[in-house]
């Protein structure tokens, strides 16, 4: 089997407790979409503000320029620090900025990655940033490389899945640990597939289903899975 680490965009981080955490790194498209949403919000807000400030004349221009400066440079910094590493655009796409060790971004890292945005943007439309993103292993633009940050997917909460109730049967032949895990995954996640696909997959395991076909084969695999997870009935 090929090494899944070469195919996946999953990065493993080892913690001081000696476990490895899985982080799913986000690619250029998701990040570009998040950036576009943020741009709409930013420049929409600036436009709205200019409508109000134009009434104040020159003083309004001063206030507007200061706001422009703050929004241009610090809009992402503030959200990354105070809103769990996500600007509104990133939040909408389920993204989050974290340090390379999986911890939340701190002030220096957030400042570095957003000040270096000025270079990532060069020569036009994030040319350098996208180039760095595609070359680096973990989709990091120059600012991410300098700050030591990653943009990862914040996975939606995982629900505890339950096997549908039914009989439990020991498998007819010894299975390796990995094979047992695949069987349990099939049974637990099977409800997300349509019945035909379930039957197709079950047909691949003719050794386990002792010649049964169709729905009966799926039911038999579920029964083995129940036995493997320890549900005896």
């Amino acid at each position: 089997m090929s090494n899944p680490a070469l195919l996946d965009t999953i990065r493993y981080v080892e913690t001081p407790e000696g476990i490895t955490l899985k982080l799913r790194v986000a690619g250029p498209m998701a990040r570009a979409l998040a950036w576009s949403m943020d741009s709409l919000i930013r420049y929409g807000a600036l436009w709205g503000l200019s409508m109000g400030l134009v009434l104040l004349g020159w003083a309004g221009l001063g206030v507007w320029l200061i706001t422009l400066f703050l929004i241009e440079w610090f809009y992402p910094v503030v959200f990354e620090i105070y809103a769990d590493g996500a600007t509104p655009g990133k939040k909408a796409l389920g993204l989050q900025v974290v340090l390379a060790n999986g911890a939340p971004v701190d002030w220096p890292a957030a400042l570095i990655r957003n000040l270096l945005r000025a270079v990532d943007f060069l020569p036009a439309f994030y040319g350098f940033g996208v180039a760095a993103l595609l070359i680096s292993r973990d989709f990091q633009r120059l600012g991410d490389l300098a700050a030591g940050t990653l943009v990862i997917y914040r996975d939606p909460p995982v629900k505890a899945l339950a096997l549908p109730p039914g009989p439990a049967l020991p498998p007819p032949l010894p299975l390796s640990a990995a094979e047992q895990q695949w069987l349990i995954d099939f049974a637990e996640r099977g409800s997300a597939l349509n019945p035909e696909r379930q039957e197709e997959l079950a047909a691949l395991l003719a050794d386990c289903t002792s010649g049964l076909r169709g729905v009966a084969a799926v039911e038999r695999l579920r029964a083995h899975a129940r036995w493997l997870v320890g549900e005896h009935s």
Binding site: E17, I19, K22, A59, D106, P108, E188
Partner: protein, 323 residues
């Protein structure tokens, strides 16, 4: 132990742990689960890590592993977040840490100062000798506009407060933006930062030389005296921070290139916090003090000189003793 009994044995613990995380993340916690006292959180986290390891080693089902991985990641992010900075820390930084960092990079500082001031002086002298040289750099319209700004005989016309505020906004947006870009572009092997230093030096030198040659000495130098110390030093220091990035990429030494860059960026960004403070101060003086033509010439020069003295003492001697 098989998966189901394992899940059943720990289900209550995991619910309580998830509720604790909800509370720490300021989300609405699950009503049915009581969260743990904070003192027990680290121990509960270590137990969860052990359970995750066991579940992985025993090849339990994927959804269970995902659930435990997610709980562990959330807890990791709570446990290992950086402590909140207090306002006091900023003051300590400006009074102790920042000048120390500048002195630690003294050689780079003098290099950047040379890259900035030598073109400034050279261009200043050249344009003073032959003023038409300025047109190689600036458009005639811009030269006329600058000339009008500093032409003597306008003492009576004072800017309104609203104009001062507009100019303050302009200086903040423009000057600090230039400082930030100088730092960021340093990552391109230092080329960007060097370009920004030399370009700004040449530009400022040309205008100074031209206005001096035209004899607008009092109006021009009384204007720039007040904020010069802070703005020029800020530009040079932004160059220092940028060159640190470039140097780390070009010559990483004993570290891997990305690691060297990370270390240089962590030091550089702290310099940039000081640079931003200097440039905000400069913008404030430039907008509200320098532009005020009612203030006598002597006072302006005195304040300007005091600014340079303050800058030298601040960067040269402040924070030498631990507070």
């Amino acid at each position: 132990m098989k998966q189901r009994p394992f899940e059943q044995r720990h289900a209550a613990d995991w619910r309580a742990f998830a509720a604790t995380l909800d509370r720490l993340e300021r989300r609405k916690p699950d009503r049915n689960a009581a969260s743990l006292p904070m003192a027990e959180f680290p121990a509960a986290y270590r137990r969860l890590c052990q359970q995750l390891s066991i579940a992985r080693a025993r090849c339990y089902g994927g959804p269970l592993l995902d659930r435990l991985n997610q709980l562990a990641l959330r807890a990791h992010q709570q446990l290992y977040r950086a402590p909140r900075q207090r306002g006091r820390a900023m003051l300590d930084f400006l009074l102790v840490d920042f000048p120390r960092r500048v002195r630690a990079d003294a050689r780079l500082f003098w290099l950047c100062a040379a890259l900035f001031y030598l073109p400034l002086l050279g261009m200043g002298v050249a344009v003073h000798q032959s003023p038409e040289l300025i047109y190689s750099l600036l458009s005639p319209e811009l030269v006329t506009e600058i000339e009008e700004n500093y032409a003597p005989g306008q003492e009576a016309v004072d800017r309104a407060a609203a104009d001062d505020l507009a100019m303050f906004g302009y200086y903040i947006h423009n000057n600090i933006g230039i400082g930030f870009r100088t730092f960021a572009s340093g990552i391109l092997l230092g080329v960007g930062a060097v370009f920004m230093l030399v370009f700004n030096g040449v530009f400022i030198g040309a205008i100074s030389g031209y206005l001096t040659a035209r004899g607008y000495i009092e109006t021009f130098y009384t204007f720039v005296a007040g904020h010069g110390a802070f703005e020029l030093t800020g530009i040079v220091l932004a160059g220092v921070a940028g060159l640190k990035l470039g140097w780390a990429v070009a010559a990483p030494g004993r570290f891997r290139r990305t690691e060297a860059l990370r270390r240089a960026a962590a030091e550089g960004v702290r310099l940039m916090i000081g640079v931003a403070a200097l440039l905000v101060l400069a913008a404030f003086i430039e907008a509200f003090w320098s532009s005020n033509r009612a203030i006598p010439t002597v006072t302006k020069y005195a304040v300007g000189g005091a600014g340079w003295l303050l800058m030298i003492v601040y960067l040269g001697w402040t924070g030498r003793r631990a507070p």
